[in-house]
């Protein structure tokens, strides 16, 4: 059982990643693609946080007055720092994506990919 | 020892391109530039002649093209033959072009003269190239520069001809590129060497055979060896001076010259025999000689008949280079010059006839011999020469080729040469006959030549062909040069 838990997070991450990837590529609705993108990124964040974990260690904030913390007592802060970046980047990308969607909708009045392609094709002809 | 004259010989016409393009609105100035460049180029090339005859090879190395491979120009005897031919004929062709183009009020003349200058530069570059990469550089430049000439008319047919030309030459260019790269890989930094440089490469015979095939496809397209000749008749839509240039001066001749370079200077006769490819190449060449002549017989259009004649004649050169005996090689190299003078005469004549009468079919020529005696006289002379009549230039090369065939033990090719001579007579004689002995006897015959710039060039080249036949070393020392190269290649020198 413990062997399962040792990497259980990775299985979860893998499933979440696939759900997100599939949503991004195969969903016809553009808004959902964007949501799937966020799910995809959450999976990556979970992945980083999972391998940052350290048994018997606590949150990477040193208690007040502790001048020389020991490495074994605190979780690896580096992945946390990196994922802070990833979250912010993700929200930024989402914002840009939504801005694009709003302007696409204004022009074509749809966010369904097949319908959108159809409209563009008709316009081209 | 850097002698920059080969470089100047190449550059002078390239440098003329700018002024030619800028003088678009002033035809006289434009043609003056062409003439000045042609004269300078001829001067540079001829000034190299004494040194080469004395056994030297003036050369210059410029910037590196690739690691260990410089842009290397060198005037060796074989290259001199081609360079002399191209630079001489450029002058004549320029004169003729002015007459022809202005006479026909042809459009796009600036583009024509500019491309022409680039073509001649590339031809000289091909002649003087000392290593495969330099050769490739000028060869490809020639390919591109010829395209505007082929599509000169801008007609639907011209565009189609241009496409065909591009398709053939660019596919060939890839083969040539691979072959050149491969050869520089086998022998890094090699320069052309009489007798070939690949013998020491250590490659297996099978590899060498593939390499040779790549080379022959790459260059053979320009030389119009039989299965690869399709573009040449299609390119006949171009104006006559262009055809003259294609056939006699630059393009096809560059292909033939390239075959000599590959067979004699990259592979060398002995290696060729070793890998057993000499006989194959010679056979293909022989087949082209006969096949081209037969196709020529079947054509009623004058220019197309001349085109197939070229297909046939150029394979003499390939045949000689493939046979590999001294006389054969000498004959092949001499034929480069001889065929140049004779074929350009024929095309000039075809052009003159066209400007005067707009006739293109052979049957239309009836009685023309009396209206245009100089033109048709020159035509007859050149036709006889091509067929190999003694006292004309063609005889010298064929005699040597036949000798070479016997020396190399392939007597069967002598038979081919004889057969070809008959076929040559067979397709030229009707033209001459129609022009001089057919037509209305009762019609009043009057002298009706065109402008002097149109009839003088063929007359000059015909006389030159005659002179070369009687004195093979006349002025340009073609014969000596050819033999020098041949002896060096076969180890006799």
């Amino acid at each position: 059982m413990s062997a399962f838990y040792e990497i259980a997070n990775y299985w979860g991450v893998a499933i979440l990643l696939l759900v997100g990837l599939h949503g991004m590529l195969a969903r016809p609705n553009l808004m959902r693609k964007l949501m799937a993108m966020n799910i995809f990124q959450v999976a990556v964040i979970l992945f980083y946080l999972s391998f940052a974990e350290k048994t018997g260690a606590s949150t990477p904030v040193a208690p007040h007055g502790l001048l020389h913390p020991l490495a074994a007592d605190f979780i690896n802060p580096l992945p946390h720092a990196l994922m802070l970046t990833a979250i912010v980047v993700g929200v930024g990308t989402t914002g840009v994506g939504l801005a694009l969607l709003v302007s696409i909708y204004r022009r074509y009045e749809t966010l369904e990919e097949p319908e959108l392609l159809e409209k563009m094709r008709r316009e081209n002809a | 020892m850097n002698d920059t004259r080969p470089l100047w010989a190449v550059l002078v016409s390239l440098a003329a391109v700018g002024p030619i393009l800028l003088s678009d609105k002033r035809p006289n100035l434009r043609e003056a530039w062409s003439f000045i460049a042609a004269a300078l180029k001829f001067g540079f090339v001829v000034s190299l002649l004494p040194a080469v005859l004395a056994g030297g090879t003036p050369e210059c190395k410029l910037l590196d093209l690739a690691p260990g491979i410089a842009l290397h120009l060198r005037a060796d005897p074989a290259g001199m033959v081609f360079a002399l031919l191209a630079s001489t004929l450029w002058i004549v062709t320029t004169l003729y072009s002015i007459g022809y183009m202005r006479g026909g009020k042809s459009p796009h003349q600036t583009a024509y003269f500019a491309s022409f200058a680039v073509c001649v530069s590339s031809a000289i570059g091909i002649a003087f190239a000392a290593n495969p990469l330099t050769f490739l550089l000028f060869f490809e430049l020639l390919t591109v520069a010829t395209y505007p000439l082929v599509v000169h008319n801008r007609s639907e047919e011209a565009v189609r001809g241009g496409r065909k030309y591009l398709a053939y030459t660019f596919i060939a260019a890839q083969c040539l590129l691979v072959a050149v790269v491969w050869s520089t890989f086998l022998v890094p930094g090699a320069t052309f060497q009489a007798g070939g440089f690949l013998a020491a490469s250590g490659a297996t015979p099978a590899q060498l055979r593939i390499l040779l095939l790549l080379f022959m496809i790459g260059i053979g397209v320009k030389a119009a060896i039989m299965p690869l000749h399709g573009w040449l008749p299609a390119a006949m839509v171009a104006p006559t001076p262009v055809s003259a240039l294609l056939h006699a001066v630059a393009v096809v001749k560059a292909g033939a010259f390239g075959c000599v370079r590959v067979l004699v200077f990259i592979f060398g006769p002995s290696l060729l025999r070793e890998i057993g490819m000499d006989w194959l190449i010679a056979s293909v060449a022989a087949a082209t000689i006969v096949g081209g002549s037969l196709r020529a017989l079947g054509e009623d259009n004058l220019k197309r008949r001349l085109a197939y004649s070229t297909v046939s004649q150029l394979s003499y050169i390939v045949l000689g280079a493939a046979l590999g005996s001294p006389a054969a090689i000498a004959g092949a190299i001499f034929h480069i010059a001889a065929h140049g003078f004779m074929k350009i005469t024929l095309f000039f004549c075809a052009g003159s006839i066209y400007t005067r009468t707009h006739y293109t079919e052979i049957a239309q020529l009836a009685g023309l011999g009396k209206r245009m005696p100089i033109t048709m006289g020159a035509f007859t002379l050149a036709a006889l020469g091509l067929a190999g009549t003694p006292l004309l230039a063609g005889f010298v090369s064929k005699w040597n080729l036949a000798l070479g065939a016997i020396h190399s033990g392939n007597e069967v090719f002598v038979a081919i040469l004889v057969l070809s001579a008959f076929l040559n007579f067979a397709y030229f004689f009707p033209i001459v006959y129609t022009a001089f002995f057919e037509g209305d006897k009762g019609e009043t015959v009057r002298f009706d030549e065109t402008h002097v710039a149109v009839w003088l060039p063929p007359a000059l080249t015909a006389v030159a062909a005659l002179a070369l036949g009687m004195f093979p070393d006349f002025f340009w020392s073609f014969y000596t040069l050819a033999w020098t190269a041949a002896k060096a290649a076969t180890g006799l020198g």
Binding site: A26, S50, F51, A62, A71 | -
Partner: protein, 258 residues
Amino acid sequence: MRSLSWIAVLFTGVVLFYTAPSLPPIGDPESPASSHVSPYYIENSVSDMATPNLVTTVVTDYRGYDTLGETTVIMTAGLACLLILGFWTPMRRHPTETDRLSFGSPVLDAAARLLVPYILLFALYVLFHGHHSPGGGFQGGTLLAAGVILVRLVRGRDCGWGVDREQAVRLACSGAFLYYAVGLITMLMGHLFLDYSKLPLPLTAAMRRNMGILGVEIGVTVAVAGTMILIFDCLHATPHEDREAEVSAERAGAEGHT
């Protein structure tokens, strides 16, 4: 397209499930990730920069240049939205009748009046206490933006409470530039970019680093807050012609009822 994406998903899945077991087990203190570089951060950040929040030290100092990039990403996103959607209707400092079309209701208004000051205050706390507890520039900036956005939601879409759109652009850019400037100062003084220990402050090296962190955190806060407001405004604003149509439709509806 559909089948292609299934293939991509399948392929990724195979790679994931095939390779996950060979990763170091979760929670292993001896795993390379926990034993190579990170111990340095844990053991030295208190003495290096007098900051107990290890994540903050990594984010803003040890890997401070990443965070400058990240702040720039945020700014880029804001400018991208601006370029794509642009300014449509001008904003008003004070709400007019039409601004109240969607959300305006007394209850919401009163709730917002009550909440917003606390949100903003909390934002500042998060920012300044980021050295000692979870929090810092990104969180603080987000909360600031959340406060402003709440007012926007309650008061109507074109309300320019707090900052208007032009100001939001300038906030986003100048916040990022503040971060940049802290690094630039040390660079211009002949030291390395972002080397806070060389800041011209009359303090110990660790405290100078501490102050440097505070400086960049403020920059991040301003940039994040400005950008989030900017993106919201771009997404939320109404194009001019739509707005005219909506207002007239509303009027027509109101007249129909009476």
